[in-house]
């Protein structure tokens, strides 16, 4: 399952990355995503946006669909 598929209000755990490029993976890792981290889908942006607000551990990260599709998740730790 990918982060982008996580319904709002649900919690999951980062399992890995399918970024396609090392650049995107590095970017996601630098902003804080890592294997085992707890993520929760908070909401999407207004005006039908594909921009997502995601809780990562105790922080909130804004990211778009393509980036959220690059993060693999599992529903159990």
């Amino acid at each position: 399952m990918k982060l982008i598929e996580l319904p709002a209000g649900q919690t999951a755990y980062v399992a890995g990355f399918e970024a396609g490029t090392e650049e995107l993976e590095a970017k996601l890792r630098e902003v804080g995503f890592a294997e085992g981290d707890e993520v929760e889908m908070l909401t999407h942006g207004p005006f039908g946006a594909k921009t997502l607000a995601v809780r990562l551990n105790r922080s909130i990260i804004a990211l778009r669909g393509p980036e959220a599709a690059a993060i693999r998740i599992e529903l159990t730790p």
Partner: protein, 611 residues
């Protein structure tokens, strides 16, 4: 003894600037790094053991892979590769104590550089209030570097940090350039190590900040969110006009009284003319707008410090995406309402070069606070305060001017992104900080810095322009009207060009210095009309304009000001930021063209409508 050079490093939102203001008391030296446009803020502080420390505030970074211009400078300075800047003696690394797990890997990456460093668990007060408990001794032991819990806004929090600095200064040795880890494999292992350490040292880690969660439930709601944003922006502009009125009147009366008093005390002569008609009329008519500019900056600073600004960027992302930019471009554009210079500079956080260029090119279309003096003057003189439903016609016209600027910016950006600056929009990936109450001291320091910058401009630039213009307007003779003066001669060269769009000679004269700095146009009109009437009436400029201008001319003047190119300072910054004369010329040319066409169209439509 040379000052110990300490670089402040941390992720965006780790509280660097607040700590910097807290430690230096806001006494910052602001300059640029040699050859690039990244702002270099440094300040001096004294430790308990009387060591002088030069604190350098570096741009925020998430890791050592630099993507934007800002990040590149930060990384180069940290690793000692920035050729013209001496490498710092030590790093003060800031990590948000509320989420050590997510952010600790940056500290590990920096530690791998092998430079002397001190880790500060910043905003410890907020983390503790949430119930986070961290074993600091254990963290220190596991990392092998000194760790201190800090809180930029409390004296005790700063004192703890200063105490640890002395130990660092006395023990540290200078290190040469070093390379960081920037591969994915390196990052992965750093993260693994960071998570392992976090697991050991975080004794208690409750769920995310409840207040932030509750606020975001409303503020980020796809329906309510944009409404709240619109209401906030509306309140901001309402405040600029409603609250500023009383102090503005006071300043205006003050300058009027000063001019009148000097007029009585001094003997008649050129010096009195210069002082009263040139200096007091010119500078006074600009300083009057300080209250409005302060309120505008205060709003933007509060939105930023509270954590809301990042949410606004999040909500605007989809609309900005349709234009071809991303949500990040919203912050530079919003700052441009105060002034395009900080707006253009904050565009540096945009990684994609084409996006950054487009944002800079349209930033001047956002109505900056320097245009307020012009708008306020003309609206007060020509638009009656008739009630229109719940609103007042003057307010609606002002709103219309702002809206015209915004819509044009979006249209121009859309066209640019499909033609000259084509390219895929960059991904949006940013942290939205925990909400916090802005610290009053930090807020006041930031606001004072803005106010001082404005007054310095008014003092230096506008003073000079007022004096020169007064000289040009009253020599060789202004007895037979302004046309006989040097200023009149200069203006009459421009007059044929400006006549088709309804501008008269006085406007032509005021426009030239108005290009140097917009608000000067008001001062210039003040000077031109004060000289013409031979009086010293600074408060009565609006009245003078009513008799001298027709309504179509006034409306055309407003339309001109929505688009006309920025003050020279903005142009200079735009050139520096874009590093291209071609783009700067393009920017000036398209703005002039739009201003000319808009003013002309307004003038002729207004005349046709019989206004």
């Amino acid at each position: 003894m040379n000052a110990f050079r300490l670089a402040l490093v941390g992720a965006p939102n780790s509280g660097k600037s607040t700590l910097f203001n807290g430690l230096t008391g806001g006494r910052a030296k602001v300059a640029n790094y040699a050859g690039v446009t990244v702002e270099r803020r440094s300040g001096a502080l004294l430790t308990p053991a009387a060591h002088t420390v030069e604190l350098i505030d570096l741009p925020g970074i998430y890791g050592l892979t630099a993507r934007s211009l800002d990040e590149r400078i930060a990384v180069d300075v940290i690793s000692g590769r920035e050729g013209k800047e001496k490498p710092p003696d030590a790093l003060l690394v800031l990590v948000d104590a509320a989420d050590l797990r997510t952010h600790l890997h940056l500290a590990l990456q920096l530690k791998a550089l092998g430079r002397p460093m001190l880790l500060a668990l910043n905003m410890i007060d907020l983390a503790e209030r949430d119930g986070v408990v961290i074993d600091i001794d254990k963290l220190q032991e596991r990392l092998g570097i000194p760790v201190v819990a800090t809180c930029a806004t409390r004296k005790a929090g700063r004192a703890a940090l200063l105490g640890r600095l002395d130990a660092l200064i006395e023990s540290s040795r200078r290190a040469g350039p070093s390379e960081g880890v920037a591969t994915v494999a390196g990052l992965r292992s750093m993260q693994r190590e960071a998570r392992a350490i976090a697991k050991e040292v975080i004794l208690k880690e409750p769920a995310m900040n409840k207040v932030t969660r509750a606020i975001d439930l409303v503020v980020l709601n796809p329906v309510l969110g944009p409404i709240i944003l619109a209401v906030l922006l509306f309140l901001m502009f309402q405040a600029v006009f409603a609250w500023a009125q009383t102090p503005m009147d006071a300043i205006d009366n003050g300058f009027g009284a000063l001019g009148a008093w000097i007029g009585e005390v001094l003997p008649d002569g050129w010096f009195k003319g210069l002082l009263v008609d040139g200096v007091i009329a010119g500078v006074g008519s600009v300083i009057v707008f300080l209250p409005q500019i302060l309120i505008l900056f205060a709003f933007i600073l509060l939105l930023e410090a509270s954590g809301y600004l990042a949410r606004a960027a999040f909500m605007m992302d989809e609309l900005m995406l349709r234009v071809g930019l991303n949500g990040r471009a919203f912050i530079p554009l919003l700052s441009s309402f105060a002034c395009a210079i900080p707006g253009m500079m904050s565009a540096r956080t945009i990684e994609n070069e084409n996006d950054r260029l487009t944002t800079i090119l349209v930033a001047p279309l956002m109505t900056c606070s320097a245009r307020l003096p012009v708008y306020t003057l003309i609206i007060a003189a020509f638009i009656p305060p008739t009630a229109v439903g719940w609103f007042n016609l003057q307010g609606l016209v002002m709103f219309g001017l702002y809206l015209t600027g915004i819509v044009s910016a979006l249209v121009v950006a859309t066209i640019l992104k499909r033609t000259l600056t084509r390219g895929r929009p960059q991904p949006l990936l940013m942290e939205m900080p925990t909400y916090k109450l802005p610290d009053p001291r930090d807020f006041l320091i930031n606001l004072a810095m803005r106010a001082w910058a404005f007054l310095k401009r008014a003092g230096k630039f506008i003073f000079g322009v007022s004096v020169v213009l007064w000289f040009l307007a009253s020599n060789p003779s202004s007895a037979a009207g302004i046309r006989d003066s040097y200023a009149g001669m200069l203006g009459s060269w421009l007059e044929p060009l400006l006549k088709p769009i309804g501008f008269n000679l006085e406007i032509a004269i005021a426009l030239v210095p108005g290009l140097a700095a917009r608000e000067v146009a008001v001062g210039a009109l003040g000077t031109v009309y004060a000289v013409q009437s031979g009086g010293n009436d600074t408060a009565g400029l609006a009245h003078a304009l009513q008799t001298a201008w027709s309504l179509p001319t006034a409306l055309a003047f407003l339309a001109w000001y929505v688009f006309a190119p920025q003050c020279l300072a903005t142009m200079a910054v735009a050139r520096r930021e874009m590093n291209s004369w071609r783009w700067t010329t393009f920017m000036a040319a398209y703005l002039f063209a739009m201003a000319y066409i808009a003013a002309g169209a307004t003038y002729w439509i207004a005349r046709w409508a019989g206004l």
